[in-house]
């Protein structure tokens, strides 16, 4: 994360450098957007901030690593099992930590998902420590003058866009998706017209966690990771959610791209550890100026 794919531009071919840096920012940003999608979905549907999100992204990465090493299959074939497994983990998470918290002060769901995260991180570090894991993927890259963009990264960015589109269609054109939006809009009214809200909330958390796992698989093909790598993606996820609007998959991609391009623009000038601080300052400023997100029309519209 935060690692730039191409080198810095020289004055000679500045234009090409700027173009490459923008493409780079967009590619990184699409991945950030994908990593945030599950978080923003759960946040938008039930006003619960899932603090296990980063760990679920790492769970996807570990799923990728373990499956590839155990079965020797292509990394991309691990997507379906992680998607399905993630869904069931999410449903379990809903029943353990979130069901009793829906409708209570946000403080309580923050604390309950926070404690589940502590449990998972505690077990993860006890089993795997903080060792670095790496999954090798070799795909032909794309060249632009002196700059080369790895194939795996382009494929991840394309898949991120496809997944965002799929989620958009799921929310707007399927029965379950429409019912989810109804629940997000007004839970009591949805209940009154016969929508089984509890089951839908469980499905929403399941989908959110499945998306986190899928994001983990795709990020795992790009960068090495540890058990604690999820934190950074979760923090960026908050910022992406606030930029893109709550529960809006397309907004999440746009927010992610904004973040990726911003990072590309500030990296030459400040030390890496400051980027997250700049992004958090942005988070606070955006929240004060646009309480519903820049790309959002209104809250609850999903």
């Amino acid at each position: 994360m935060g690692r730039r794919i191409c080198c810095r531009p020289r004055p000679l071919n500045l234009m090409l450098g700027i173009l490459a840096s923008i493409i780079d920012g967009v590619l990184v940003g699409l991945v950030y957007g994908l990593a945030a999608m599950g978080l923003t979905l759960i946040w938008g549907v039930m006003d619960v901030i899932n603090l296990t999100h980063g760990t679920m992204v790492v769970a996807g990465m570990m799923g990728l690593y373990l499956l590839v090493n155990a079965l020797g299959i292509s990394p991309y074939l691990t997507l379906p099992p992680v998607l399905i497994g993630g869904f069931f983990v999410g449903v379990a998470l809903y029943w353990i930590a979130i069901h009793r918290m829906v409708g209570r002060p946000p403080l309580m769901s923050l604390l309950s998902t926070f404690s589940v995260n502590l449990i998972l991180i505690g077990i993860g570090t006890a089993v795997w420590g903080t060792a670095l894991f790496n999954v090798e993927v070799s795909l032909p890259g794309f060249s632009l003058g002196r700059y080369t963009f790895p194939g795996a990264h382009i494929l991840a960015a394309v898949l991120a866009a496809v997944i965002a589109a799929a989620l958009y269609f799921f929310l707007h054109y399927t029965r379950i998706g429409k019912a989810l939006r109804a629940v997000a809009n007004n839970r009591e009214a949805a209940e009154l017209v016969g929508i089984p809200t509890t089951r839908l909330l469980a499905i929403a958390v399941g989908t959110g966690v499945a998306l986190a796992g899928v994001a983990g698989v795709l990020i795992g093909t790009l960068f090495p990771f540890t058990i604690l790598s999820g934190d950074g993606y979760q923090l960026k996820g908050f910022i992406v959610t606030v930029l893109g609007g709550f529960g809006n998959p397309v907004g999440a991609l746009l927010g992610g791209i904004a973040l990726g391009v911003l990072e590309g623009a500030v990296t030459p000038f400040v030390p890496v550890s400051w980027t997250l601080v700049i992004e958090f300052a942005l988070f606070v400023l955006v929240l004060i100026a646009f309480p519903n997100g820049i790309f959002a029309s209104r809250r609850g519209a999903l």
């Binding site: 901030i49 353990i96 930590a97 009793r100 918290m101 002060p105 946000p106 403080l107 309580m108 923050l110 604390l111 309950s112 926070f114 404690s115 589940v116 995260n117 502590l118 449990i119 998972l120 991180i121 505690g122 077990i123 570090t125 006890a126 923090l235 908050f238 606030v242 030390p271 550890s273 400051w274 997250l276 601080v277 958090f280 300052a281 988070f283 606070v284 929240l287 004060i288």
Partner: protein, 320 residues
């Protein structure tokens, strides 16, 4: 105030903390109580935000670590005496908290909680990149600094008594705030912020004041703690585990109560000591803290004091 039994209960606790290790010159007991003092200080001050105003601060460790840095740095490169360094640390961190608080406390509820994570990142990035603070390798101070306190053996006792005083001040602060008009305003914010604002509670000012007040004593405790170890580096000073533990302690004892939080800190410290020395659980400290927190949040949101109040209703009259 002096007629209230709770005032004297706190005084008794402080006397016990100061007296028990001093009577037998028991260094081992003293060292275990050092940690209890730190926990009680951190948790009681976090309680001002979490328990009274209902705002989660995930970054309470920042006050502790930043206080430690300012104090150690003033002693190391400006040769300030300990007392002034501590006061400067407390005032500096408290002032910074007020400035930042006025900004981020415009965000409500969960958004505030998320921004406190940003504050941790920001302060940590600052400490790692600020050259006078030694970057990621930190600052060492030579044992010479213990000389004005009468050598290192005596200095450790002096530091311990100062820590006990900080802890006592934290308990009194929690108590006085809770029984004051300011505290009533904070509790109203915790119940329903909109209603509180309509009834005339100046909510932004009260929240920022509570945030700033909850920074002062942890900063001093941090200064004492890192002066004691004569060494400070970013990974120790901003160890997020301590923030987490402070939240667990508040919930364990009963958020919003003075006694509960102190009791929770003491119990948690004992539990932690047991877990760290047990061969089975040494690696699962975080996991057990997580299970504990989850069970409390799900089934006993009122914590230990909630249980005591429901069993012994008379306790409500005595214990805050």
């Amino acid at each position: 105030m002096l007629r209230r039994p709770f005032f004297w209960i706190i005084a008794l606790v402080i006397a016990a903390f100061a007296g028990l290790p001093a009577i037998g010159n028991d260094v081992e007991l003293r060292e275990s109580l050092v940690l209890a003092c730190v926990y009680i200080t951190l948790a009681s001050n976090l309680n001002l935000m979490l328990g009274y105003a209902g705002y989660i601060n995930f970054g309470s460790i920042v006050f502790f670590g930043l206080g430690g840095y300012i104090c150690v740095w003033l002693i190391y490169s400006h040769d300030w005496p300990l007392v002034w360094s501590l006061l400067a640390a407390g005032a500096g961190v408290s002032g910074l908290a007020l400035v930042f608080g006025l900004g981020i406390l415009r965000l409500r509820g969960a958004f505030f909680a998320l921004s406190t994570i940003g504050i941790v990142e920001g302060v940590q990035a600052f400490a790692e990149n600020f050259t006078p603070w030694g970057g990621s390798s930190g600052i060492y101070i030579s044992p010479q600094v213990f000389l004005p306190l009468g050598g290192s053996a005596r200095a450790l006792w002096v530091i311990y008594f100062a820590l006990v005083a900080t802890m006592g001040a934290s308990l009194y602060l929690s108590y006085f705030v809770k029984t004051s008009k300011f505290g009533l305003g904070l509790l109203a914010i915790g119940q329903n912020e909109d209603a509180a604002a309509i009834l005339g509670v100046p909510t932004p000012r009260y929240k920022a004041l509570a945030y700033s007040a909850s920074a002062f004593l942890p900063a001093i405790a941090g200064g004492l703690y890192f002066f004691k170890s004569a060494f400070i580096q970013p990974s120790d000073a901003f160890d997020l585990t301590l923030s987490t533990e402070a939240i667990v302690i508040c919930m364990l004892g009963g958020q919003g109560t003075v006694t509960g939080v102190a009791l929770g800190a003491f119990l948690y410290e004992q539990l932690r000591g047991y877990l760290l020395t047990s061969s089975t659980f040494a690696n699962f400290q975080l996991t057990i803290a997580g299970v504990l927190l989850l069970l409390i949040v799900l089934f006993f949101p009122a914590g230990l004091m909630g249980f005591i109040y429901s069993r012994v209703p008379a306790a409500k009259k005595v214990l805050e």
